[in-house]
């Protein structure tokens, strides 16, 4: 949680809605984007940034912060939305998303954006970096932890499994991975691209502490982060979050599933309206 404790701070559901709203507004700016993924992961990011992680919005490189590595760089729109809600990126920059000279490029890079700790996008990089950070933090005697988000599609990459073995081998109990299982890759449903189930069994066999939850059930996600944080054994932790693409905007939830979902120009306002209607209901 932010070290700036606010009086009358928004609740987690409100945070999640704000993240979704930020993402939709960025999607509207570009007329496109990985909006369905951003909507599916907003609840997880709300819990990460407003329940689990320690950081200082005004000092993104604060030494004692928890690190967050976005391995799936195309989810940048979602992380920017969370970083804006967290006050790490000013709200005014939202309008620059994907424009020339913006600090918010379409694929996330460490060299562009405050709070973006790695250059993702080439899938399969994040967990290896997380292993190195975890080792480094232990070497320094730091209490900070490394969170890393990656997608189910990245399980196809061999490097992920190198890093899984390594994290367990080095007993990295300061590492918390989050896998977004939305079952959607570039060419189709993830499970048809390369089957990865039974995922919990696999991860446990690799030496990880595993919690699998409905990634759009805030209470369940909070419980998973709490369990991952408090688990006493010296092993890395992973939260497998089953999520729904387009979550929070009913007509996008029902749209034919695609890696890069099509949204017509007039539908962005409609999506925001549906999100607000959900908020009031």
């Amino acid at each position: 949680m932010s070290t700036n404790t606010l009086v009358n701070a928004p609740t987690l559901p409100q945070r999640a809605r704000n993240i979704r709203r930020n993402a939709l507004r960025m999607g509207e700016v570009q007329g496109q984007g990985y909006i369905a993924q951003a909507l599916d992961i907003s609840d997880v990011l709300a819990v990460a940034y407003f329940h689990a992680m320690r950081y200082r919005p005004e000092e993104p490189t604060w030494e004692d912060r928890d690190r967050f590595l976005l391995s799936n760089g195309h989810y940048a729109i979602a992380l920017y939305a969370a970083l804006i809600e967290a006050g790490i990126i000013p709200q005014t920059e939202l309008e620059t998303y994907g424009f020339d000279e913006s600090r918010l490029p379409m694929s996330g890079m460490a060299s562009y954006t405050p709070g973006m700790e790695m250059s993702g996008g080439s899938l399969g990089l994040g967990l290896s970096i997380a292993v190195g950070m975890g080792l480094g933090l232990k070497r320094k005697g730091s209490k900070s932890r490394v969170f890393t988000l990656f997608s189910d599609g990245e399980l196809d990459e061999g490097s992920k499994w190198e890093a899984m073995m390594s994290a367990a081998h080095h007993k990295l109990d300061n590492l918390i991975a989050i896998i977004d299982v939305n079952n959607q890759q570039a060419d189709g449903p993830s499970k048809q691209m390369m089957g990865f189930e039974p995922l919990v069994d696999k991860l446990e066999a690799f030496g990880w502490f595993v919690r699998r939850v409905d990634g759009n059930d805030l209470d369940a996600v909070v419980a998973a982060f709490d369990a991952a944080s408090s688990h006493p054994q010296p092993q890395p932790r992973v939260i497998v979050a089953d999520t729904l693409m387009g979550k929070g905007v009913p007509f996008l939830e029902q749209r034919e599933k695609n890696h890069f979902i099509r949204v017509e120009a007039h539908e962005w306002k409609l999506a925001l309206a549906e999100l607000d209607a959900e908020d009031r209901s």
Binding site: S119, L127, G136
Partner: protein, 336 residues
Amino acid sequence: MKSAISATPGKPRLTTSAMIASIAAEGQKTKPAPFGHALVELARSRLEVVGLTADLGKYTDLHIFAREFPDRYYQMGMAEQLLYGAASGMAAEGFMPFATTYAVFASRRAYDFIHQTIAEEDRNVKIVCALPGLTSGYGPSHQAAEDLALFRAMPNMTVIDPCDALEIEQIVPAIAAHHGPVYMRLLRGQVPLVLDEYNYQFKLGKASLIRDGQEVLIISSGIMTMRALEAAKELAGDGVDAAVLHVPTIKPLDHEAILREAGKPGRLVVVAENHTIIGGLGEAVAALLMRSGVHPAFRQIALPDEFLAAGALPTLHDRYGISTAEVARQIKGWLR
């Protein structure tokens, strides 16, 4: 099907295991594991130095460091992508990883990891790799004939090709003083000692005229500087006066020194490198000369653009034209 190497008549038939741990010639002056010892020396004062390897600690001389600083040594297993991703993560936390493997694995297997997590993120990782160019008789699986071309093409990467044990000892503190990613070719085991006779001092980004001469200028890096110096002695016996410009930093290239030396009139310019003729020092120098309007007679000594054979290194170095005798022979032919 690759044709077997035919033995030169009158020469003993060598085996691949000859020179397996060292590229030194028989009777040559050597020093053991200069990288490992230099890293230990550096790590005594630079507490942020850590050593990482992918199951090749013993074969990259990192075991010397591991023995001295066991808690600063990280065995990452035979996983090169992880090795360089994790090195990036440790550098992000303020450490200075020296991450070792063979040149083939860093350049060909882990390229994207180094590109994205180290070069693009500007992490202070030193990539130190054994068996550069043609220094293994195991065939293409272990022969990194294209490592310099690959790392030269990567933005924000400093690329170094040392000649001998003395230079390796000097490079280690020099690259530690430079903040940023470095790719360094490593000579391991009993490493030839050559430059001690020339009052040599490595400077990052600088070429060094080790020997002057009137008829031919050899521009070389790595072990080819050793070969060039030996060939120059041989050529002197035949009345040919050869200069040797050693260029250990392949990137950034020392434009000033190369243009100054290559621009002196009347000399044949020969670039000699332990690397494929594509994309290494030779083409870098050629492009620099063309861009600068300097047009000496120009030749390249380099490995051919093909998958190289397995066999004993002396045999292979003769076959592919990078042995001392072959360097001298080719130059004499060009001067004729």
